[in-house]
């Protein structure tokens, strides 16, 4: 038998939590196990980007990180209401119709929220190359990112 993992202390959307990860548990599994189901598990192998969250403010596929390695980390998910860049991106996605089925949207918004402002459409496309959308054809997503970046306080 293998030994259990030690407890990890995390900041999840600004709240301090202590989790006892199951051996081999990935961040996406733990988030959803703890009721944070806004983040969607897609391919589970890092290809689709639907489970993208911020780990210490960096977009990260939550299926490619073990909870056990995150002791002390700051996790931000689509449920976060305090992050202004995420809030602005949510609003721009809605007003630009940048979602249809919505499966990719939480990860897409998280990833898009960390694209440096002033990015060209090509730079936005390159930055979102790891986030797959099967509905929109991406045009409305690129527009939404540009719109969010043009809004005041960006």
């Amino acid at each position: 038998m293998t030994a259990p993992n030690p407890t990890v202390t995390l900041q999840v959307n600004g709240t301090r939590v202590e989790w006892q990860p199951r051996n081999g548990a990935t961040l996406i599994e733990a988030l959803r196990d703890h009721g944070l189901t806004g983040t969607k598990a897609g391919c589970s192998v890092g290809e689709c980007g639907s489970c993208t969250v911020l780990v210490d403010d960096r977009p990260t596929p939550a299926c490619l990180v073990l909870v056990a390695e995150l002791d002390g980390a700051r996790i931000t998910t689509i449920e976060d209401v305090a992050d202004r860049r995420i809030a602005r991106m949510k609003s721009a996605f809605i007003s630009n119709g940048a979602l249809q089925c919505g499966a990719c949207t939480p990860g897409m918004i998280i990833a898009a929220s960390r694209i440096p402002s002033g990015a060209s459409p090509e730079e936005i496309r390159a930055a979102l190359a790891g986030n797959i959308c099967r509905c929109t054809g991406y045009a409305s997503i690129i527009r939404a990112v540009q719109d969010a970046q043009a809004r005041p306080d960006a």
């Binding site: 038998m1 293998t2 030994a3 259990p4 993992n5 990860p21 199951r22 051996n23 081999g24 548990a25 990935t26 599994e29 589970s44 192998v45 890092g46 290809e47 980007g49 993208t52 960096r58 977009p59 990260t60 596929p61 299926c63 490619l64 990180v65 073990l66 056990a68 390695e69 002791d71 990833a111 390159a126 930055a127 190359a129 790891g130």
Partner: protein
């Protein structure tokens, strides 16, 4: 991992020093864990190469395994250097464009930010872009073993499966001669995160060429070494890569899983 996919999910250990890593790696079923972009996927899928893994030894905290530096006539790259670091390094762009271009094409942005040089060489990936570029450069991987011995292994032997790596060894870095005249290209189904159908890296030293390719077999392979080319034209290497890709045909079944 979801229950049932991996019979005994591995225990996680964070190494605080190289000595600590070697201690953890002395256990039966211990495996180095770094970026995790291949290893976690393999564990989830129950891939044969991770069947015996019981302990993951996380070496990401070991700063001695980071950094890119010019050393003599070559370049040294720490085993924890990520694809994103290689793709954006001004030094790598100048002295090894083949590696810079390969890194910029590898996987997708968030995966490049995690996946490491060491992982790309050590996981049995058939079309690792970093591995292919490093093979074209004639690189050597450096390991430390649990017995605190240092070993250097040519990447050609490593990728061909000819190298005997002691259990518990940790790759500390990669050394390669500089390759200012070099290029990398790949043909894939789409830009982000598809394994290359075919990828080719070419390095020219004077009139001598080294050509490595991915997508032709189980691992990247060296296609030509010491082939001679006339002239000194800087655009020549890029043209050779294009011509090489035009002539190659992918192996069956390796295009995309």
């Amino acid at each position: 991992m979801t229950e049932g996919r991996h019979a005994q999910p591995p225990t996680y250990h964070r190494a605080v020093s190289l000595a600590d890593a070697r201690r953890h790696l002395g256990r039966r079923g211990a495996c180095v864990y770094a970026g995790g972009t291949d290893l976690l996927v393999a564990l989830r899928a129950g891939a044969p190469w991770v069947a015996g893994v019981r302990h993951l030894v996380d070496i990401k905290g070991l700063d001695a395994l980071r950094g890119i530096a010019r050393v003599g006539d070559g370049i040294r790259i720490g085993s924890l250097v990520t694809g994103a670091e290689l793709a954006t390094s001004a030094l790598v762009r100048r002295v090894a464009p083949v590696l810079c271009e390969a890194a910029a094409l590898a996987a997708a942005p968030w995966v490049r930010a995690r996946g490491t040089v060491g992982g790309n060489l050590m996981s049995p990936h058939p079309a690792g872009d970093l591995a292919t570029a490093l093979l074209a450069m004639g690189s050597t991987a450096e390991f430390v073993t649990p017995a605190v011995l240092r070993r250097s292994i040519a990447i050609q032997a490593l990728l061909a499966g000819h190298a005997r790596i002691p259990p518990g060894a940790v790759m500390t870095g990669v050394r390669a001669p500089v390759a200012p005249s070099s290029a990398y290209q790949r043909v894939g189904r789409r830009l982000a995160f598809t394994r290359a159908v075919i990828a080719v890296g070419v390095v020219r030293h004077g009139a001598q060429l080294r050509v490595a390719a991915a997508g032709l077999g189980a691992r990247p392979m060296l296609l030509a070494e010491g082939a001679t080319v006339p002239g000194e034209d800087g655009a020549l290497v890029d043209g050779l890569v294009r011509r090489a890709i035009g002539r190659l045909r992918p192996a069956r079944g390796t295009g995309r899983a």
